[in-house]
Symmetry: D2
Subunit: 491 residues, 4 copies
């Protein structure tokens, strides 16, 4: 962090140059450069508040607003790149501003500290990133929903312990993944809300003796809550942990789906076929079509668990208020958010590039005795206590297994000695499709219930889409776009 | 898992005894025994639903309700202990019930599976535990609030980087911890809500072909939501991860407080004195008074981070629906919840057993130049651009440091050459108490602002207390207490 | 921690009773009771050293040796149980000793502190546990080796990306797991060595001014190294982290094996059949045979990752020397070691209870084009550059796939246009068994190479067995068994 | 991964272009580009082995050797940059080679797969990085050792529970950190050894049917061990976990040192003064000198714990052999190694830029009763049983505390009633310097013992330096440097 003139943001008390090894280590510009936009927007709000409260005279505020707006414009169009010897993006911005508007830039840091400045920039970034994740999620959920609609009567075995368990439909299976991710959308929205507290005005830790108005700068940023306590405002990284946790859960859900893609595309299962567009070959083995992207999603779930564990370990035991350990929040958060975004995108691509082998799915219902429970349930309906019915069905399974036939192929005579309550008629009722269709309780796989699920899922998806569309850019950003940064009214 | 008669819940198909090594490994009774109450309550709701829907005739349902109620009563009074050779608490309950009411017990498992049964019991447990954590939290928050009320004008240095930074009040500092934990209460309440979805009726994974009513059993348990999808219902452990994450965050916040207690009780700081009741001695060094409990809280934050990381690693990559890996959810969750509860309790005890050394706190304001920022701010008010003001204040600090005096003790003459804008008058205005009291923006340490904070904190606390008091036991449990399990109406 | 007489190990300076909430939280007796034996052995060594150096007169040392030996005997036979109000096992031992031999027990703590005492007990425990793990490992490795010996010519597909890749033998596959666990044995032995440093004599942190001989107590405990620095001796928990890491790696390796068991016992693979002894049924689905124990091993790998992550998070940032956070080392370590031991045992049981379906394994070689690489390699031998050969083999695969035949069933005529270098003769040479047998480089699946592997594996196993058998109990323990604790010579 | 000609390394079987979303996600070139050198060196060894075994004719091998050598030269001098559309560095190398030498490049991949190729490159990288870490460590250890040598008789309090405990010397304290890091050097060396197993020749998983010699390529790379089993060779990432664990432990040790720097540079402790070169100021508070680099080291320990936890979670439950999840090994490993290297460097810089305030350290011995244990020990020497001596010393502490004096300032008359065994003479012997100097057991703080430690530390450091200096570049690299890649002899 050296300015061209050899000074720094905090050089007044210092009499020698910093050690370059230390500088290289403590500098964050290589990664916090992506906060440039968010810092500029927050700085605009800050200056505008200083103007509105009279802390800065209009003559002093306007050059700052103009200069910051200019930088923001160049950053957004890509004509200005964030790089240099500066210790962080905040220093880079102040230095660049100074190069543009001269020493007037020195008024920018009035009544704030990097402590509240870093926090607000990261909060704005987090909210923006979460909103973008939610939009990606809607695309994925929509793809799954569309696929599910096509497979309400595509029958297949549901699994527990990776053993065929009971007949369900493919739609039902896909919807299970749908709802798992819907919970992530909810978790992300909660994290979005929790990040929406403005720390601007907390300064280094104790607010300011200048007559600032923290609610005004918050409102300019579209936030309706401010910090309750200036000390906590700069010490708090809960919003980072909340976001990282939401990403970790999302990745876990994607990893469960990915595991199934890996399994289902194995020759042994053969439930899905990956198109050439979404599978990889081998540099050595010419016959291979590998589900590499799905494997990588699964692997990256581990990565995000690591991001979260590292973040929490970093936060543990830090005394109040700000400590430099907190600088380690950014790379872990970025990595979690980026990995989540990339993974959703890739899962959407895979989902669109695979074909379900419906015949193979349905054929898988035949072996495995997946209706043994239904047999027991039918006996219960006939009056047998469940535990006894379960035992009898177990005996029938053993018998069918030893004969290499299906349950409904057992002859009643044989059964008479073993499990007299099981008549030939009962056996006929346990063909898989019939059994699945008979499960008509709420949330169960019968087609009419799955259609209810599809409707609920569509409603939830619409709700999520509405939420994302209702998000508005901060008023100060709107004013910037409309070139009215110093205008009388910003609301 | 062997019944006295040598059979098991799933023995029908099996022809040889299980390997005892495997049994010892897969058995969960030693830890899931604490779910006995919750399983019994859920079982009561299940049977009552079966009765209400006509799946079970009254003659079959009543002995089950009576038997389960009897077991619940004996568990609650401690006259019955959960132990035995059974593989889990659910098996233990069914076996014990069978010993009481005979083969009629065999109807209990009608239309359910251990998959939905385990999930509902763990959800009820989680909600109960979270509610209890919140009650413990209110006690702690109340203690901190009361202490803060006594120290609105106890001045002390606020720290960043463990360096004295700016003057604040002890009340302000304590309230920072208050709000950190208030966020945990919110996170816990969210986890409570998320756990409140009934999986009962999902069976093994595909619901039931019997005419069950999952909304009825949910309502009997006081839950207004049921699973949207039977497959996910038994595969989902988000509620466990949510609760563990909330505990981890809580522990992190407690660890930050604990770190300060360790620091502040060190002779070098001397900000707090621990009473004999809450400190430990040394087996070797007779002079020691150690803040062991606070250290242990700090250490246990690591433990709960581990619980969470382990849980997430376990969940990663599991295909749908239930897999036995999920059995590993319980011990990690129990550990996280127990550790959080114990830690809150102990932090409350420590808080009540320590004395702040007010004189020492205030004396700490003298060295450290904690009002250098105020000096800069005053120069800003006098028209100097901030960056220049900051530099001048830095020069003043260097001068004062080299002379071994406070800022306000510098003579104006000396400064004239260095930083002419700093007059003697300005210097007089940067005595710490005055400077702290002048920080009157919202959330800042000025006494009137801290009193606002105290009022907000009291309101939040009352809100939390109201929330906890409004929680009602499940209707089926109420019916059990009133001996009306089989009565016409349960609402 | 209260003695019957109301005092404690460190009560001299304290004027009031400890808070029971604090006591319950800081007390470790419920879990460190399992260190009783190790503490007693270390205490015997300590007293004997005090006797040998003259710090304690024989008249004072002998009652201590006798008393400690008596307690050790009763603990080992189970006639004495470690329980009581004491804060930890060390306090319990001193109190119990005092009840037996009166105030003479007060000399036991001469020249030591709980800091070095806890560390040595935990080190002895860790070494004993690791040695036991290694013995369990030999059993498992032996089982795998024996199985591998039976399957040198049982052919099967090797997998990458869960896609059939190249033909190998089952022996080769089993040996891959063998060598993975052999690395764990090595890691465990390293952890064993690293734990073998005696901290006894470091006291609280600064040694003692009494003329003690730390090398003597170390030698009595069978350790040939002592701490280089008394401060580190009590602050160091590397040996705990080393052991936990070794357990985590072991669990990861077992989880990879377990994943395969889950896959292979799925109907779709059908490579193994689990005997009834080692599989579990379903409480609901009568037809299920679930590989629950294998799933649980997989899940428990997550748990041990959590133990390790929690431990490391706890250790991070602790200043020297001892802090109570370190008390959190024990439960995580115990859990990691116990989980590893239980998992090895259960994997051994599963291994002994499963049957490989040799026909199914071999049948799996037919589909999947697992010899496409061999085709390419054969072209390379015929002079085609590899990259071109790879492309041609790819074309052949595509052709065979579209015709639904095996590579060797393609007719040469068809190929002539596509890949002229592939003659009919070449195609005949890529039948799987032939291809696997032709891979004769070191470490490859050709039978003669696998037999080399088997020999190397047997040698390694013997080496591990020898290592375990060469471990000797500490000399002081030997003296205790021979009733010669106070005899002239212990060597 | 597209070549200019639109094909890829594995395109033969594929009929459509890959999805760019998938490509961006699965591509590793942005991070594995740093393996270019290691891959080239391994490729040289591979080709040379193919030549030596006759698999490649000299006419085919020489252009490959020349081409690879040329690329290596340009990479090393920085005239060639690794970037492009390729999916990974291995593909980039083959494509670039092809651009140089044409289709002859197609012979490079003979008898290998990316599976063994990735593993060997990463192993070479890991070893090189670990060796570099060890060299950095020697610099740091040397700095600490030199500092310690200056402070053998600089007295200070040793701490437990952050409470002053017993008198030690600063040298003793610094050496505690020395030995902690010496253990890391040992752990790193073990990881170096474990990484030194060549997987080259394992191919995709099953070796090769060409007459390769894996021991030859290993020897050319300076490795004396090869994989025992081709399947494990490509599935194994233990060496990554070993290295990451070694880094995590190192970071934990550095974080403990860093925590002390943060504490000791706080005004309250004031044990060290940071030079301007190694401290940071505040953008707001002109008086601040913050130990930011030390804080960041502490925070980064959390990060590396996360790297490790993420890696282990990724590895868990992967079936054999290679899966794409393993691609996630690199970034975590790179991050752990880079963070460790940067942290060691910065800790060295800090260590060289701080000054110990010897007077302040020694003054800290006065308050805190740090010789209470010595008092007890002296009573033991006078014949009092330890437990009684401990109690009496406790009483003396309480008395001195209430009088606000030091132990040795208590008058004997007062004590007579409380603890008659404590005579005035005894009290005089517990002045801190005397007490510290009297602790002459091995590893204790008496100057002569510390000088022994210094000698041992110097020897260990020399040993580490020798180890690092003895490391030789791989023979094939040596041949490359000497322009003898195709010469008759490489040994």
């Amino acid at each position: 962090m050296t300015r061209p003139d050899g000074t720094s943001l905090w050089g007044g008390r210092f009499s020698s140059e910093p050690d370059p090894v230390i500088l290289a280590f403590t500098g964050s510009l290589p990664f916090d450069s992506r906060l440039a936009r968010h810092d500029l927007i927050a700085s605009l709000a800050h200056v505008r508040m200083l103007l509105d409260t009279g802390v800065l005279a209009r003559a002093h505020a306007e050059p700052l607003l103009d200069g910051l707006g200019e930088l923001l414009g160049e950053i957004e169009t890509g004509t200005l790149t964030v790089e240099g010897p500066d210790e962080d993006v905040h220093t880079w911005i102040e230095r660049t501003l100074q190069e543009r508007i001269g020493s007037a830039a020195g008024r920018l840091h009035t009544a704030r500290s990097r402590n509240d400045q870093v926090s607000i920039a990261l909060r704005l970034f987090t909210r923006e990133s979460i909103a973008a994740l939610c939009v990606l999620l809607t695309d994925l959920l929509e793809a799954w929903l569309a696929e599910a609609e096509r497979h309400v009567e595509t029958w297949m075995p549901g699994y527990t312990h990776l053993q065929r368990a009971q007949p369900i439909s493919l739609a039902h299976h896909l919807l299970a993944h749908f709802w798992a991710l819907a919970a992530d959308a909810d978790r992300l929205q909660t994290a979005y809300e929790r990040a929406g507290v403005s720390p601007l005005g907390a300064g280094a830790l104790a607010g300011s003796l200048l007559p600032i108005d923290p609610r005004r700068s918050a409102a300019l940023l579209g936030l309706d809550r401010i910090y309750p306590n200036s000390l906590l405002a700069v010490a708090d990284r809960d919003f980072v942990a909340d976001a990282a946790f939401a990403c970790a859960m999302l990745m876990i859900h994607l990893s469960r789906w990915a595991e199934e893609i890996v399994l289902w595309s194995a020759l042994e299962f053969g439930f899905v076929r990956l198109s050439d567009r979404i599978s990889q070959g081998s540099s050595l083995m010419p016959q291979k079509k590998n589900p590499e992207a799905a494997e990588l999603v699964r692997g990256k779930a581990g990565r995000v668990i690591g991001d979260l564990a590292g973040l929490l370990a970093m936060l543990k035991g830090l005394p109040f208020a700000y400590n430099s350990d907190l600088q380690e929040d950014k790379e872990a958060l970025f990595d979690a958010l980026d990995t989540a975004a990339g993974s959703i995108r890739v899962v959407t691509s895979i989902s669109q590039g695979l074909t379900y082998d419906v015949a193979r799915l349905e054929r898988s219902l035949v072996a495995g005795f997946v209706t043994a429970t239904d047999l027991a349930d039918l006996l219960v309906q006939g009056g047998t206590p469940f535990r006894e019915a379960h035992r009898m069905a177990g005996v029938a399974v053993r018998e069918a297994e030893s004969r290499g036939c299906e349950l409904w192929e057992l002859d009643a005579g044989t059964l008479a000695g073993l499990a007299p309550a099981i008549g030939g008629e009962t056996l006929q009722a346990v063909r898989p499709e019939a059994a699945a269709a008979a499960r008509t309780s709420e949330g169960a796989p019968a087609p009419e219930r799955v259609r209810d699920q599809l409707a609920d899922a569509a409603a939830l998806l619409q709700h999520l889409r509405d939420w994302a569309e209702d998000l508005r850019p901060p008023p100060i950003y709107q004013a910037y776009r409309e070139n009215r940064l110093a205008a009388a009214e910003i609301k």
